[in-house]
Each structure stands twice: as C-alpha cells, then as structure tokens.
C-alpha cells in the first residue's frame, strides 16, 4: 500500500482556513481522499507470497452488530412461528382482568380487554415485520430496477424515471397513504404496497446515482467493447456494484417501514381486523389517556420491542454499509 495515500489530507500551502470545495470533481476528490484516509486495504498479492494471507486482515463487524443480529433473528423466528409458540391466544378477551400489571401469568400484563400483552406483542411482530419487509423489497425491486435502467440508458428513459421519482417525492406521503388505504380494503398486501410505493423514490434515486457512477467506469466500457449486450452489462457489471449500497439500505429502509406501519396504525389505517395484530395497533390501543396514566405497560412493552427492533435494524444496516463501503473502495 502506498503511504502517500494515507496522507492525502487537505494540505495547503498558505495557512489560510480552507472552505468546502464545490463542484462535482472536487467533491468526489475530497470524498475519495476522506475514504482513503480511513480505509484499510486488504492485502495485495505479493509476487512471492503464498496465497490466502489476507483473510487475517478482514474487517470485523463487531460484537454489537452481532447482538443486533441476534435480536433480529429472534424477532424473525417469533414472527414466523408465533401461532406455534406456547403462549396465550392473543385475541382471547378476558384472558385475565383488564389492565393487570405484569405478572408470572401475563409477563407483560394485560390490556383494556384483558388480553395478554406478551402474546399480542409476539404476534404483532408478524404484521409489523412482514409489512416492513415486503414494503422495502417492493421499493428495492421497483425503485432499484427503474433507477438502474434510468442510470444506465440515460436519455428519455432516465427523464421519465426521474419524473416519476420526483412526483412520488413531492406528493405528500401521508396523503398518499391515506388515499390508498382509505379507498382500498386494508389488507396486509395493500398496507405493505402503500409503504412500498413510498420507498420507491428514495431507493430508486440511490440506485440511479450509484449506477451513474459505475456506468462511467472503464469496466463498463470494456464490457461493451467485448460485445456484451446491455442486459448482460446491467446484470453482470452494474448490479453487483449497485446492489451492495442498496442492500445495506434494506435494513435501514425496513426500520423506516416498521415505523411507518406504526404511524398508519395511529391513523387507524393499518391492516384491518381484530385478529390482525401489529405493534402499531397495540400502541394505539393503549394510547388512551387513562391507559397511559394507569397502565403504561400496555403501550410501553410494544413500544420497547419496536424500539429495540428498529434500533437493531438501523445499527446492523449501518454497520453493513460501512463494512462494504470499505471493501468496495479498497483498491
């Protein structure tokens, strides 16, 4: 590695304070420098060294990352197998008395209708995570696909895609969500799609931006010169590069989507039906003034679980982004 790269800090000859540099080229240069200064290069292959000596210098994701992952795995497991778990029926009214504090029978206490909050929280993971996950996957596929196509082909297609994105971004998100959920039947699919549509533009803009960057790179020119068709170039050359920053965004986006479901629930627009339990709906259930004063546990437990889940998603997503950021730029 070159030691010079380590010191490409902003030197300047005259002792004046430096102001931020403008212009695309300069910005990229600064960004580049900043990244180089903090990155660690995986070992290069010395001519005479045995292969495979660079695994020792792999970056670590860290203990807290794995802690977050463990929590998310538990949540995923709970969501998948909630009906099979040995917990009370979450819809059973008067499982205990109304608004009972946490006890050995009902770990998280009971709500106003005497339903088991612990059981309901576990079951709530199903809809909250499913809506969050489905929404962000929809955003990724549709937004990411449009963004890559626009970024690679440029021209008219790009203009059209950009127009769609800006319309989506300019339209008040809440109004759109209310419009859709109020006019259509509030099934899980509709709620997920609603949030997914809102995810299309931000994800798409990111995909478009990173496609633009990579499409300028010479390896794309090299693929064209070899005779690769556009489809192959997009799939083989661009997608692997664009998917990494997007992939890291998945977890961050999912966190946003989980919160968004909660917000819709507050407006009474989350998935309809008594047996459709979500964290958002549980929080609303316990959000009456009396409940908040006398039976805080009814809201606090779902809030806490949602909070830790969203925190884990954000944290893990951010760590993954950093991890790949470094690897990607580690030339």
């Amino acid at each position: 590695m070159s030691a010079e790269d380590l010191v490409t800090g902003e030197g300047q000859a005259t002792g004046r304070p430096r102001t931020p540099v403008e212009g695309k080229a300069s910005r990229e240069r600064l960004l580049w420098r900043f990244r180089i200064v903090r990155l660690v290069r995986p070992g290069r292959v010395p001519d005479d060294s045995p292969a495979g000596d660079e695994s020792a210098v792999r970056r670590r994701l860290g203990f807290s990352f794995w802690l977050a992952v463990v929590w998310l795995l538990i949540m995923a497991f709970v969501a998948a197998f909630a009906p099979l778990l040995p917990v009370a029926d979450p819809t059973k009214v008067a499982f205990g008395g109304p608004r009972e504090p946490p006890s050995l029978d009902a770990w998280f206490g009971t709500d106003a209708l005497g339903r088991d909050v612990f059981s309901r929280t576990l079951h709530g993971a199903r809809i909250s995570l499913a809506v969050g996950g489905f929404a962000i996957v929809f955003g990724m596929v549709v937004g990411g696909g449009l963004g890559i196509l626009g970024g690679y082909f440029r021209g008219r297609l790009d203009q059209a895609v950009g127009f769609v994105f800006f319309v989506l971004l300019s339209f008040p998100a809440l109004v759109l969500a209310i419009l859709i959920t109020a006019t259509l039947e509030r099934s899980m699919l509709v709620v997920s799609l609603t949030i997914g549509i809102l995810a299309v533009a931000p994800v798409g803009l990111l995909a478009r931006a990173s496609t633009l960057v990579f499409a300028e790179r010479e390896f794309v020119s090299a693929a064209r010169v070899l005779g690769a068709k556009p489809g192959r170039i997009i799939v083989r050359e661009l997608l692997p590069n664009v998917v990494i920053p997007m992939g890291a965004l998945t977890l961050l986006g999912m966190a946003v989507a989980v919160v968004a479901e909660g917000s819709l629930a507050f407006l009474g627009l989350s998935v309809a039906g008594e047996d459709a339990i979500s964290w958002g709906k549980m929080i609303v259930d316990g959000a009456g003034l009396r409940d908040l004063q006398n039976a805080t546990h009814v809201t606090m437990f779902p809030v806490a679980v949602m909070f830790v889940t969203v925190l884990s998603l954000n944290f893990a997503g951010d760590r993954i982004r950093q991890y790949f950021d470094v690897k990607e730029l580690a030339f």
Binding site: A51, F219, A222, V225, L226, G227, P240, N241, A330
Partner: protein, 335 residues
C-alpha cells in the same frame, strides 16, 4: 498546422484499418459543440504499431474511442477490412467488436471490483457463448500465464492486485477474444515508473505472439517512440504530422511536434530547446481557431495560417506527411 488532407493515406493491400475524415463532436450545452476530432485521416497496416501522440485535449483518446465505437461518430469513415464501422449499429456492430479490443488507462477502474479476475478475463468468451468449458478454461490459464499473472490467483478480486498486475489482467481480457486490433489508451501512464517497462515489454511480446495490430495512444513521446512503427501527432482535434517513427523523431517538420520534443525534460537532440517556448493556453475546443488551429501558439505563424487551413503534404519522398504552411524541414532545405 493542424490540418486536413489525405496525402498520408496509403494504398497498400495490407491496410487493416483506415480512418478517413473522422469527425467527433460532443454537445456542450447552449447549442455549442466541442470539436473533439475534426477531419482526421490515417491508416494502420496489418501488424503495424501506430502511435498517436499529443497533449491532453488533442483528441487522441477520442479517436481511439470513436474507432471502437465507445463514442458516437459525427462524420467520416472508419474502414476495418473494408467495412465502415461508423455506419454499423446493433447486432452488426456487436459482431465486429471482438476484432477490435482496448486496453484502458486506469487499470483499476477498468476492472469490475466485484468480479473475480478469472471471470473478468473469461468475460469475452462467456459473452460469445463459450460456457467456460474445458477448452476455454485452458485458454484462460494460457492467457494468465502469457501476461504473467499466476493462474492460482484467479479466484481473487481486482483490489487484491497492484496496478501493474491489474493492467496485465486487462490485457489478458482484451486478448481472450483473439482480436486483430488492440487499442491501447495510455496503458502505462497510471503506473509507477519501475512497472511501466514491464507492461511495455509485455505489450510488445503479446503483439508478436498473437499477431496484433496496435494503436498506441500516449502523451509520452519517449514511450511512443519506443513502441511505434509509425506516428500521428495530433493537436486540438487535428492531425499535424504523420510519418515513420524514425522520420518524425529525426526530422520533425511541424512546429508543434518540435515544441513537444523540445519541452520534454531531456529534450531530443534534433530540436532547439527554445522551440518549446510556445504559449501556455490551449484554445477552446468549442471555438477552435480559424485556419491552422495551432496558429495561436505557433512561433512561425503568418497571415495565411490564420486564414487557410493547411492540407497534409508529403515531405520529399519519405513516409512523412505534414500539414503546415511553414514546415521546418522545407526552410532548411531552401537555405
């Protein structure tokens, strides 16, 4: 100079690539265009190495990219084995692509960071339908061996290699499809001094081994002299001087060629060091100067240079053509 004309085009049967009156323009907003390449003509014989030399902004890289159709051609012809590449589109264009391959300046940018180097080298074969069978696996091993990258490192990704190694990988990728023409766009200028010679020697070896015709683009006059049989000197989108390498370096006729030769840190003995004292400022390519495009910086410029664009003419009966109203050689012989 900096002029037009076809005197330099040869009539041989073995001319493999002929560029005639090539024009490339890019839109520059507000209805202006960048005249990147303007009526450039030259040809390359089979097995020859043609060097294109000039400073940044002279259009040398654009010529290369136009030939290989990475940029759109505004006008003119690019005849390869008698077919005009300028008019080809879609599948027809794709079918000739394997014949002309390219080596890029930045070895790191030209390799996909997410792919293993073996896949990078095999990409051409994969595109053309060889499903990495045993035949092509041998081919990849042979190529990696030829360019000096150990086959056992094939599963690694580009960032694990140095710049010089990456350039070797880029060369192997270009050679995989058995091209006739190899276009090298500043292939060593991003490399360390001690690595440049390795890559230059490798290119010579590959040329011999695979019977290549090479177009070598560089700003470095010493490097171009080392590799080329024939040289084109370009300035601001125009050809100044064309000729055999020996002619160009021993009897540079165009004032711009002479300025270049006088400017390098250890100047060529054929020119006076003062000839390097041309102005700093390259005129804008959106509004190039009238007449000879070099007249704004040329120490020999007269009125005719400002008005009339010079046409290339042969000097004596040598393989040497210059587009200049006042070529240096002529004056010396007149004296």
């Amino acid at each position: 100079m900096a002029g037009t004309g076809h005197a330099q085009l040869r009539d041989h049967d073995d001319v493999l690539l002929r560029v005639k009156d090539l024009v490339v323009q890019f839109p520059a907003g507000r209805r202006r265009v960048v005249h990147a390449v303007s009526e450039v003509s030259f040809d390359v014989a089979e097995g020859e190495t043609l060097g294109i030399v000039g400073e940044s902004g002279c259009g040398k890289s654009t010529v290369a990219r136009a030939i290989i159709r990475l940029v759109d051609i505004t006008g003119g012809e690019v005849l390869y084995e008698g077919r005009d590449l300028a008019g080809l589109e879609g599948e027809d264009l794709r079918r000739v692509r394997p014949r002309l391959q390219m080596i890029f300046q930045d070895p790191i940018s030209s390799l996909n960071p997410r792919r293993r180097v073996r896949d990078v080298i095999a990409e051409g074969l994969a595109v053309w339908g060889d499903d990495i069978g045993s035949w092509s696996r041998d081919r990849i091993d042979e190529l990696m061996d030829a360019v000096g990258v150990e086959a056992r490192y094939g599963a690694r990704r580009p960032h694990e290699f140095s710049g010089g190694q990456c350039q070797r990988i880029g060369i192997a990728r270009a050679l995989a499809l058995d091209p006739k023409v190899l276009i090298c766009d500043e292939p060593v200028s991003a490399l360390d001094v001690s690595i440049q010679a390795q890559i230059l020697n490798l290119l010579q070896d590959m040329k011999r081994r695979y019977g290549l015709t090479v177009l070598f683009i560089s700003h470095d006059l010493s490097v171009v002299k080392n590799v080329s049989d024939r040289i084109v000197v370009m300035y601001l989108g125009k050809v100044c001087e064309i000729g055999s390498t020996i002619e160009i370096y021993s009897r540079p006729a165009h004032p711009y060629t002479r300025a270049l030769l006088a400017s390098i840190p250890e100047p060529a003995p054929t020119v006076d060091i003062e000839e390097g004292d041309i102005g700093d400022e390259l005129p804008s390519a959106t509004a190039p100067p009238s007449g000879c495009r070099f007249h704004t910086r040329c120490p020999r410029a007269t009125d005719i240079c400002r008005e009339v664009e010079p046409v290339s003419e042969q000097i004596g009966d040598a393989d040497h053509y210059v587009a200049c109203h006042h070529p240096v050689e002529v004056e010396i012989s007149a004296r």
